[in-house]
């Protein structure tokens, strides 16, 4: 896309991306980073779970059932964040033809989808004791479900095109179009919701969160975020190997391990 090369700043940025975005370089860098990220993730999980399961007192209304929040809420947040991250990677890959960004986007999709699925499952597990039903067509629930379909569609499109470059570019366009849709889904569903949904079922009628719940929640959120980055690096490393399997450096690498 030549027309983006005109701006000096942008072109310097592209040079930078191309330099550090070389798959070979990134493979090594990611290899060095993974243990650190994994360590931080483990630490955060241990602390977060300890705080969430022992330290925080039971809720006066829900007893211990509320503790599922420490999994549910971070996953719900991450599901949305991951989509935005994925779309940005995809756009970078498409516009500036950066293959590493394509791979990062591709590696993000299943992670985002599983965050979404976890949020859905934990949410409905929580819904049974709280609302007496597994599922309600409430605003947040519905928008989360649609987010899940966007992920599934993205992955389905990726999977059904086998030329990797074409697959990356096609699904990038889809991801970009989908991101435009996200805030719209969000607001439209609110609109719909306020007209129809009895207030008893809304999430906003929750009792205010106490600091004893907030701290474990924040720790757990960071734990899931670092979990995401760790898994991203791991997945993108294997993606790089698959995509670069014909290059000399991968041949040498694989050869030396055998």
């Amino acid at each position: 896309m030549g027309e983006f090369g005109g701006f000096a700043g942008v072109s310097r940025l592209i040079k930078f991306i191309h330099k550090y975005g070389a798959p070979k370089r990134f493979y090594r860098l990611a290899g060095r980073l993974v243990p650190w990220f994994a360590g931080v993730t483990a630490l955060l999980f241990v602390v977060g779970l300890y705080l969430g399961l022992y330290w925080a007192p039971p809720d006066y209304q829900q007893g211990d059932a509320y503790r599922i929040m420490f999994v549910h809420v971070p996953n719900a947040w991450m599901s949305m964040m991951a989509y935005v991250i994925m779309a940005s990677f995809a756009a970078t890959g498409y516009i500036w033809n950066v293959r590493l960004a394509d791979m990062l986007a591709k590696a993000t999709a299943p992670l985002g989808a599983s965050f979404t699925l976890t949020a859905l499952v934990t949410g409905s597990l929580w819904g049974k004791p709280m609302w007496g039903t597994w599922w309600v067509w409430d605003a947040r629930l519905t928008s989360e479900l649609i987010l899940f379909f966007l992920y599934v569609g993205y992955m389905a499109l990726q999977a059904s095109i086998d030329d990797p470059r074409r697959a990356a570019h096609a699904s990038a366009i889809l991801a970009i179009v989908g991101v435009v849709n996200i805030p719209i889904i969000h607001y439209s569903v609110y609109w719909w919701h306020t007209l129809h949904q009895p207030a008893s079922l809304t999430l906003t009628s929750q009792p205010k969160i106490y600091i004893t719940m907030l701290i474990p929640l924040i720790v757990m959120s960071f734990a899931f975020m670092f979990f995401y980055f760790t898994m991203l690096l791991v997945r993108v490393r294997s993606e790089i190997l698959v995509r670069e399997q014909r290059t000399d450096w991968v041949r040498k690498l694989v050869g030396s391990k055998q």
């Binding site: 030549g2 086998d162 030329d163 990797p164 995509r243 399997q245 014909r246």
Partner: protein, 215 residues
Amino acid sequence: MTSHSLFSVRGLACARGDRTLFAGLSLQLDAGEAIHVRGPNGLGKTTLLRALCGLSRPLRGDVRWRGERTSDLAEEFAAEVAYVGHLNGVQGELTAAENLERAIRVFARGPDAALGVAAALDRVGLARLAGKPARHLSQGQKRRLALARLLVLRRPLWILDEPFTALDVAAVASLSSLIGEHMAGGGLALIVSHQAFELPGIRDFDLAQFCKVRS
């Protein structure tokens, strides 16, 4: 270096899937010249033609028309090329004549149509079938219709992928003489064909020289 040729390609490399088919390909074409690209099945001839006319992005290399990159010229360059690929690009629901009329309106820039529809159909031997839905044409008749597009658009650069497929002996001869006239009028042509054809002044171009030994 900007080449002085009308159409010049330097250092072109193309891939399909993750295999590089050819690399370092250069060629020059000037007014009135034509080349016949040759090579065995699966070498990358179709891939080359598609990259040259801008249907696919090459891995590397640059393609220039009157010294400017074709990717920068974009539609300006498209207005100079006529491409006939493996597919005919003929719409079955429209009649033969309607197919050409549409081609003129959608593809000709301004009123520069070279031959009228009727004359073009006559030239490719489809005059009698002008009103027949293209879906009912035989294989060879469809191909003739696709080639008639070359006649109604006045394009300097012809890029033809196996144009002789399905044509009978008379039509093969008539197409070669057509290309000859095009060259005589200052046109350029790039032709991929396994079939032999007579055309004085056409250069052979062996694609194999730019392909590595296959893995």
